[in-house]
């Protein structure tokens, strides 16, 4: 009997990724309706202390696999371990965040398990038969596919910022199970030599609640400092259009759009961005869009909830001051 919704929790240096908490929160809501249990699986080294947090965030059962070989994410070791855990637990569904690791791990795991995978989903529901169904953007958000699977477990990766995080309930208890890491030698063929994570005080673009983005209208790399000032007042991430990236003003990892990152923040502030179809594909599902552009005919105004027609070099610093006032209130 297949049972439970399993969440593969992602952590780095004992920090649980926000998307994992989003998945736990949503799985909890669904489990409460279907009478299912929520199982959180966490891999790493020295991670015992995460179990209470996962319980508080909605897990009924926490499976901890603590091993030096799992200290850093690797496709092989993680697939090896999770394949066995999933076969043993037989969950109904396995959910992962659509992060760099999730995107790399989920397809390999799905193929090994011989199951389907709904990638990069922005919606999850239960149908009348209590089956999970998923909604995923295709053509970079220009359409959606609604899909499900008859094969168990159904696997899905969910886009960060899709579900809200429920505040943790410290009184919640979970069964905590420690499993040994049973890694097949054949899965250790790729060797991780080095991890370089740039320390940034700003949130990761795909997980940010607010993004301040600059395009060709920024006129040069040095001017991004005005966006950074704005971003830092409200804890936002900074993004860019492809025109800015192609001009060499920002690295590609900051690019938002069809050939960059797809983001869905609560608030997206587009400065000096015209609103090309490929840019909109990457940010069109933001909850609120603000546009600052000197051209009243710019396409970005057709999708913006609020727009200011004007010179961004004048407006942005003024807005920073206004936001400071709000934050200080």
């Amino acid at each position: 009997m297949a049972k439970g919704i399993m969440i593969i929790v992602e952590q780095r240096n004992l920090q649980i990724r926000k998307v994992s908490l989003e998945l736990l929160s949503e799985a909890r809501k669904i489990a409460d309706q279907t009478g299912e249990s929520v199982v959180a699986v966490v891999l790493g080294q020295g991670i015992d202390e995460l179990a209470p947090t996962l319980a508080a965030s909605g897990a009924d059962k926490v499976i901890v696999i603590d091993d030096a070989k799992l200290a850093e994410y690797s496709t092989g070791a993680y697939t090896s371990v999770l394949n066995k855990i999933i076969r043993k637990e037989e969950p109904q569904a396995v959910l992962l965040g659509n992060t760099a690791a999730g995107k790399d791990l989920a397809p390999r795991l799905a193929q090994r398990l011989g199951v389907g995978l709904a990638s990069d989903c922005t919606g999850m529901e239960i149908d009348s038969a209590n089956f999970l169904t998923f909604k995923r953007p295709i053509y970079a958000g220009k359409a959606f596919a609604h899909l499900t699977s008859n094969v168990r477990p159904i696997m899905a990766t969910i886009r960060p910022n899709t579900f809200p995080v429920t505040p943790p309930d410290a009184a919640r208890q979970a069964e905590v199970v420690k499993e040994v890491a049973d890694i097949d030698a054949a899965d250790l063929t790729a060797i991780l030599k080095e991890v370089a994570v740039a320390a940034s005080k700003r949130p990761e673009l795909t997980e940010a609640n607010i993004i301040v983005s600059g395009g060709r209208g920024m006129k040069g790399p040095e001017n991004y400092s005005i966006l950074e000032d704005l971003a830092d007042v409200i804890g936002a991430a900074v993004g860019a259009s492809r025109a800015a990236v192609d001009s060499g003003w920002k690295e590609h990892k900051y690019q938002v759009g069809q050939t960059g990152k797809t983001v869905a923040p609560t608030l997206y502030i587009a400065c000096g961005i015209s609103g090309a179809i490929q840019h909109l594909a990457g940010m069109g599902s933001s909850k609120f869009i603000v546009a600052i552009n000197k051209d009243p005919e710019a396409n970005i105004f057709n999708v913006a909830d609020y727009g200011i027609v004007g010179d961004l070099f004048e407006i942005v610093p003024l807005l920073t001051e206004e936001f400071k006032k709000l934050v200080n209130e």
Binding site: D104, Q111, Y139, F144, T259, L267, L318
Partner: protein, 255 residues
């Protein structure tokens, strides 16, 4: 060194998406391009060949129009093409497609397999990694730098907020991310030469596949509700900025 590059033909990024009478994505009249990430994969394959010798085989699965994509890759400098085309491909999901491509590649000598990080149409980012699993070989996703020495490669891959350096022995799969290289344009001479390069067509029966084994079911397709233009805030810059901050706090409640 034997290199296999997987390429998918996708809709032009300018394409507007509409549904046909049966509720499926309508491909009529849509301009098709090589998936942008696959161009980096082709370029990397050709560069590896130029440096280390060997042969580049380009493999694509799709309708008959996908032949154009393969010819373009041949014009860029790839040596051979394989096109898997079959009406039965309709209604195959990622699991099945990876099995089919794994079967194709099993018959081609391969040290390095290159693919795109993601196809910008279905955007599943699954095929290349599933293919590696089906072949029981390692894969490195989202590669921005690839260095090859002997039978080993060191790949720099993009992760959230940074990079990783990964060492693998061949055969291995790598998926290309923007930044890996600058793809070349086919030259006129290249286009002429491409016409004479071998292009093999395969059907599912040729590969020993029958009816699909679907793991996923698509219930329906839908289109997003178009966003409406909102409010333009007029007035002097200082006034507009103040008004915007107020609306974000009181109306949108996002600050």
């Amino acid at each position: 060194m034997n290199i296999v590059v997987f390429i998918k033909q996708t809709f032009d990024t300018e394409a507007k998406i509409v549904l046909d009478a049966s509720g499926k994505i309508d491909a009529n009249g849509v301009n098709l391009i090589i998936n942008p990430y696959d161009e980096y994969a082709i370029e990397e394959g050709i560069r590896l060949k130029e440096k280390h010798g060997g042969e580049v085989t380009v493999v694509s699965m799709g309708g008959s129009r996908a032949q154009e994509a393969v010819r373009t890759a041949l014009a860029m400098g790839a040596d051979k093409g394989v096109l898997v085309s079959d009406p039965g491909l309709e209604n195959t999901d990622e699991f099945g497609r990876a099995q089919i491509l794994a079967k194709v590649v099993a018959d081609i000598p391969h040290d390095i397999i290159l693919a795109g990080r993601i196809a910008i149409d279905d955007g599943a980012s699954q095929i290349a990694v599933r293919l590696a699993e089906a072949l029981s070989i390692p894969s490195v996703s989202s590669v921005i730098k690839l260095e090859v020495a002997g039978t080993q490669a060191t790949a720099t891959r993009e992760i959230d907020g940074g990079t990783e350096l990964i060492e693998v022995s061949f055969p291995a799969v790598f998926t290309a991310q923007k930044g890996l290289n600058d793809p070349r344009y086919p030259s006129v001479a290249g286009i002429m030469k491409a016409k004479k390069k071998p292009l093999k067509s395969l059907t599912l029966a040729d590969l020993g596949f029958g009816a699909g084994d679907l793991k996923m079911v698509i219930n329906q397709y839908s289109l997003p509700t178009p966003r409406k233009a909102g409010r333009k805030i007029d007035g002097e810059p200082a006034q507009a900025a103040s008004e915007l901050a107020k609306l974000l706090r009181e109306e949108a409640k996002v600050l």
